[in-house]
Amino acid sequence: MSKGEGVKPSRIDPKFRYEVAKMLGGRDVLQCFQCGTCTSDCPVSRFSEKYRPRYIIRMVQLGLKERVLNSDFLWLCASCFTCTDRCPQGVEVANVIRTLKNMTAMEGRIPEVFKVILGNLVKTGYIYRIPDSRIKRREELGLPPLSKVNIEGLNKSLQNIGIGEILKEVLQKGGEVDMWV
């Protein structure tokens, strides 16, 4: 977080908080009174210099739309829901942060890894491409075969949900990242 850096009034969107509050899961943003319980109990904040849930909520309240939606720290929320469970105001902090990520995604801006797992989903039904070696290993271990996903049916259900651009992009290109190793 930059210190003492002023924000020009022209870069403030006074209606942003209401925009967020209207979104599914975003309503609570107006209830936050900035006590900081979320940040002090956040496992990620203990190891990250830049991730502070309290700041994120405050930025929304102040109308710093561009700055918060363009930030990379937004994507550091681990969705552990500790903040949500401990907020004395009952704010579903993790849901508000998710809402902000969703708003960014609707503008087509998401970290690459989400494009990869979305690509896998629309092609296989799972977020990973399960390699043939694993399918074979299942047999060796005596595990039942994986059911075949009705991809056409799945994709029909995913139309018109506000992420059309990204869906189009991932359907066209391949891509693979190993998320774990």
Binding site: P43, A105, V113, I127, I130, S147
Partner: protein, 296 residues
């Protein structure tokens, strides 16, 4: 007990992708406990990993699974707490808002499906405690693991957010401790028991997620545990598969074996490590197995 002991098993993505040790051991111990597992006719990702992208996408994905499952008339058992939590949350959210339910059903209707909201979803630990019962599990134990002291890690999504999950107290988790207790092993207390494994941000910030892994493993080792016991495939990957990556990043050695609870239970039921997917574990629990052998 009057509770159905027949469930649809919902695997999710992580388990078929790379955690068969959990699946193999879970199927074996559940079979031993007369819990019958029926395969899902079809399923897709529960939607949890894609929630940062679009909440609506998550709702549709999990409602699709629920709609498919509802046609069988059986309740769902999952091995992954993330899947259980997401399916539960979706069910609840849709039942609370008629408008949202109608909207999601419009999407599902495109391929002839409909979510009605009339089935229950339980994580395997919830099934073991509420439906099978500790007494029945206790009766299945032929080799109590009295020589073992282990640390439990329930993971976040088994109980958080509390309001939506309603199983377990996230601030003082007891379910896994009780389940460990019936195997004869001792579940020890340690610092940072309820801390997150960092799995969900592993692909976003390696350093932060591995720092969480490091901290957990140091605390578990400090407490003198013979192993860390998990009931989540994602947590297991972080502590087992990624343990060597954390060791490399921080220039340390942890040597903490990480077992799925179902593997621990299987051992206590007298099953052999080979039957429980032990060969798939990255951190070999050699000392732990020796300890069990020598205490017989």
């Amino acid at each position: 007990m009057g509770v159905s002991q027949r469930y649809l098993i919902y695997l999710g993505c992580v388990i078929p992708y790379r955690v068969s040790s959990y699946e193999v051991s879970a199927r074996r111990v559940l079979n031993k406990l007369d819990v019958e597992l029926v395969e899902m006719p079809e399923f897709n990702c529960c939607g949890l990993p894609l929630e940062p992208l679009s909440h609506k996408l998550t709702l549709i994905l999990s409602a699709r699974n629920l709609a498919i499952a509802e046609q069988t008339g059986l309740n769902i058992l999952t091995l992954c707490p993330g899947c259980a939590g997401t399916l539960k949350k979706t069910s609840r959210e849709l039942k609370e808002s008629r408008a949202l339910m109608e909207e999601v059903n419009k999407h599902l209707g495109e391929s002839g499906l409909e979510f009605k909201g009339n089935l229950e979803v339980k994580h395997v630990s919830q099934v073991l405690i509420e439906d099978v019962g500790l007494d029945k599990i206790k009766k299945s134990i032929v080799r109590p693991l009295r020589s073992l002291r282990v640390a439990e890690h329930s993971g976040c999504h088994l109980s958080r957010p509390k309001k939506h999950i309603g199983f377990e107290d996230p601030e003082n988790p007891q379910a896994l401790k009780m389940l460990i207790g019936v195997t004869g092993a001792k579940a020890i207390e340690y610092v940072g028991e309820t801390e997150c494994c960092g799995s969900t941000i592993a692909a976003i910030d390696d350093k932060v997620s591995l720092s969480l892994v490091r901290e957990k493993l140091l605390h578990v080792r400090e407490a003198g545990a013979d192993a860390l016991i998990t009931i989540c495939p994602a947590c297991h990957i972080m502590y087992d598969v990624n343990q060597s990556r954390a060791e490399k990043m921080f220039g340390e050695k942890y040597n903490v074996p990480v077992l799925h609870y179902t593997q621990l239970l299987g051992l206590a039921m007298g099953m052999q490590p080979e039957e429980l997917g032990f060969e798939e574990l990255r951190v070999k629990p050699i000392k732990l197995l020796e300890k069990i052998q020598s205490s017989r």
